[in-house]
């Protein structure tokens, strides 16, 4: 497949979206006219049918073209007008329909219809969830908004965060929250600005992660901040690496809640289909299975975060299936939740003892189902992270990084693309530990891992290989691109200032890179990158060296 596929498709989608917008402006005008006519003259009530059909069409299509809000609003209006449109097709009395319509319009429907067009201004960016890995420069930067009255400190924070690749904006106190701030991902605010409860931005804080700069530790102040929706408190924001660490954590939590993989097993096909639709419209990835005997192969194929299962499915018993799954160590930690109409708590406890994790009592509301599944997926992913990620840096542990490397090596062989593996090592790290202590050394390691995670693509694999050594796998990336990215990272990392015991210092790192696809095994590629790393160390550190074999 051509490499430019995704950008080509993206362009086409954008063209379609613009076309849809232009056309829909006219459609909405027609809709307003239809409704007006029908409300004024009883012989025109049949125009309601056209209005209903248009709303139905928008409800189904606007979201696909990126206008989700328009689609949702159209859905609401469609549902409200449907009974009237049905009366028209059934041939009910026109005047009676007209009066009902008039009542509906007076109740706010008129305003909703005429403001429908405003939603055409609100389109999501063409989705970031491309199947092909994105290029580093195409990754959207996270946007951080700062509200810090101390200008000097504010400048320091803005410069520091910019080095990590954040887009930083600031507002001074009393300034209005401008339009066009909808892309803000996180807010940082000084506690003194939160004293006035009437402040305009208070209402904005509940929907966003918020870090508060506050050195007040008393219970009442902290309780108040928590109530206002603050997620984290930072004493000393000028410690940029520590601040970035909090930012990373909060942003990562936000991302993890968005998605999840759910497998449902139920022998009632209709119910199964319903669950599938509800969960997938709730943004989850779903695999539905009506035949429990295929459970093992489907699990291996789909690898869900959680499993939802009925208690009794024909000849199969849910809890027995759960116990059977636990035979295999790879499914030991898979959360299993049962659907059960049993009100009997004792029986439920018995089932839990046999390998289930929780119950959802039937009948279950759609909303409850989606929320339960989301929360469960989130928790499952958090737990999984604890097991597979390095506790200090949140990067992959050595063994997992190697598994991922070998997987990418196999992908290179199959699809014929080039990928790059890099080994990174902090320069003179022992001196940092010896002079400032291990605590400070840990801060430096975390700073580098945050920088890497933030500046590389989400598809790049980053692992902590040893004490101060890191491994990177950059899929579908050519060598000169990789070198360019790593050299920029070297320069920016060297500019970070660390504080310890009233001393300020900076640290550099060296990198060795090798083309993953040029070697027979992933192991050999790592060795080549490692050799290049040591050449770099001998040649003066703070930079990138390409493996000798790759240069010819």
């Amino acid at each position: 497949m051509p490499k430019s596929l995704s950008s080509d498709v993206r362009k086409k989608l954008e063209t379609l979206r613009n076309r849809f917008r232009d056309k829909t402006i006219g459609d909405i005008q027609g809709l307003v006219t239809n409704i007006q006519n029908a409300s004024q003259r009883s012989e025109a009530v049949n125009e309601l049918v056209a209005a209903y059909q248009l709303l139905h069409r928008l409800a189904g299509s606007a979201g696909t073209l990126g206008f989700t809000q328009l689609g949702e609003q159209a859905r609401k209006l469609e549902v409200a007008i449907k009974p009237l449109a049905e009366q028209v097709t059934e041939g009910a009395d026109s005047e009676c329909i007209r009066l009902q319509l008039q009542q509906l319009l007076d109740g706010g429907y008129e305003h909703d219809i005429s403001s429908l067009g405003s939603f055409l201004g609100v389109a999501e960016p063409v989705s970031a969830q491309w199947h092909n890995p994105k290029r580093a420069e195409a990754d959207r930067q996270s946007v951080v908004l700062t509200l810090e009255p101390d200008h000097q400190l504010n400048d320091l924070i803005m410069q520091g965060l910019a080095l990590y690749g954040y887009q930083v904006r600031s507002l001074s106190s009393g300034e209005q929250w401008p339009d066009g701030m909808n892309d803000v991902d996180l807010v940082m605010i000084r506690d003194t600005l939160l004293q006035n409860e009437g402040e305009i931005w208070l209402s904005k804080l509940h929907s966003l992660p918020v870090i508060c700069f506050s050195s007040t530790h008393d219970f009442i102040t902290r309780y108040r901040l928590a109530r206002l929706g603050v997620d984290a408190c930072v004493d000393e924001p000028h410690d940029i690496p520590a601040l970035v660490d909090r930012v990373e954590q909060l942003l990562a939590e936000g991302l993890a809640t968005l998605t999840g993989r759910v497998m449902i097993v139920d022998d009632d096909k209709e119910l199964l289909e319903h669950y599938r639709l509800v969960l997938s419209s709730g943004g989850l990835q779903v695999r539905a299975l009506d035949d429990p005997s295929r459970l093992l192969s489907e699990l291996a194929d789909f690898r869900p975060d959680i499993l939802l299962m009925d208690v009794q499915m024909g000849q199969y018993d849910g809890p027995v299936l759960a116990r059977m799954l636990r035979f295999q160590s790879e499914w030991l930690s898979l959360p299993i939740i049962f659907f059960s109409s049993e009100e009997d708590r004792d029986l439920q406890l018995d089932v839990l003892a046999r390998g289930g994790d929780d119950f959802v009592t039937k009948p279950v509301s759609d909303q409850f189902l989606v929320r339960t599944a989301r929360i469960r997926c989130y928790r499952a992913r958090q737990l999984d992270k604890l097991v597979s990620l390095d506790s200090l840096t949140g990067l992959l542990k050595h063994a997992l990084a190697k598994t991922e490397l070998n997987r990418e090596h196999a992908r290179c062989a199959r699809y014929g693309h080039s990928s790059v593996v890099a080994m990174l090592d902090l320069d003179h790290f022992k001196q940092v530990n010896d002079s400032y202590g291990h605590g400070t050394g840990d801060v430096v390691i975390k700073a580098l891992s945050n920088l890497l995670r933030h500046r590389l693509r989400s598809t790049d694999i980053i692992g902590r290989y040893g004490g101060e050594e890191f491994v990177l796998v950059m899929p579908e990336c050519v060598m000169n691109e990789a070198v360019e990215i790593l050299e920029a990272l070297c320069q920016d990392f060297a500019r970070l200032v660390f504080n310890a015991e009233s001393a300020e210092f900076s640290v550099t790192f060296s990198a060795g890179v090798a083309a993953l696809n040029a070697y027979e095994t992933g192991e050999q590629a790592i060795e080549a990158a490692d050799k290049a790393l040591y050449q770099r160390k001998r040649a003066g550190r703070n930079g990138v060296t390409v493996a000798a074999g790759d240069l010819s």
């Binding site: 596929l5 989608l13 189904g60 299509s61 979201g63 073209l65 209709e270 319903h274």
Partner: protein
């Protein structure tokens, strides 16, 4: 036994914008061969030429709606069991049930995400084959 792989899809959708998005989603992203028709009548004319392995139908269309189109296709020789997928903006369980009763292999809620449509269809296809 490995299931036959899905190549040829026939889609019936009256809305031109959605047809174009679906073409992108299924051809450029999904790698299928898609024949997109604007009405049930058109689909009946095109079906011999395209010989679809799977049919995707919008439920609500003027003249001949999705279920009526499917009934007409099912009546043709060679298409009695071809898997069909309905796309609908309504996701109420009784309606879904009625589509499944018509023999649909799956229902895709509208609005659909163009980037995952191909995956959804592929999943329904695999499912249909695993059961069949």
């Amino acid at each position: 036994m490995t299931p036959e792989s899905l190549q040829r899809i026939l889609m019936v959708e009256d809305e031109p914008d959605i047809r174009t998005v679906a073409e992108l989603a299924l051809e450029a992203i999904g790698g299928f061969e898609l024949t997109a028709c604007e009405s049930g009548q058109h689909a009946l004319k095109k079906i011999e030429e395209c010989r679809p392995q799977l049919i995707v139908l919008d439920v609500m269309m003027p003249c001949m709606d999705g279920p009526a189109t499917l009934r007409a296709i099912r009546a043709m020789p060679g298409y009695a069991t071809v898997p069909a997928v309905f796309m609908t903006a309504k996701v109420q369980s009784d309606e879904v049930q009625s589509y499944l009763a018509l023999g649909a292999a799956g229902v895709i809620p509208k609005p659909f995400d163009p980037l995952t449509l191909a995956d959804q269809i592929r999943e329904i296809w695999n499912e249909a084959h695993a059961i069949g």
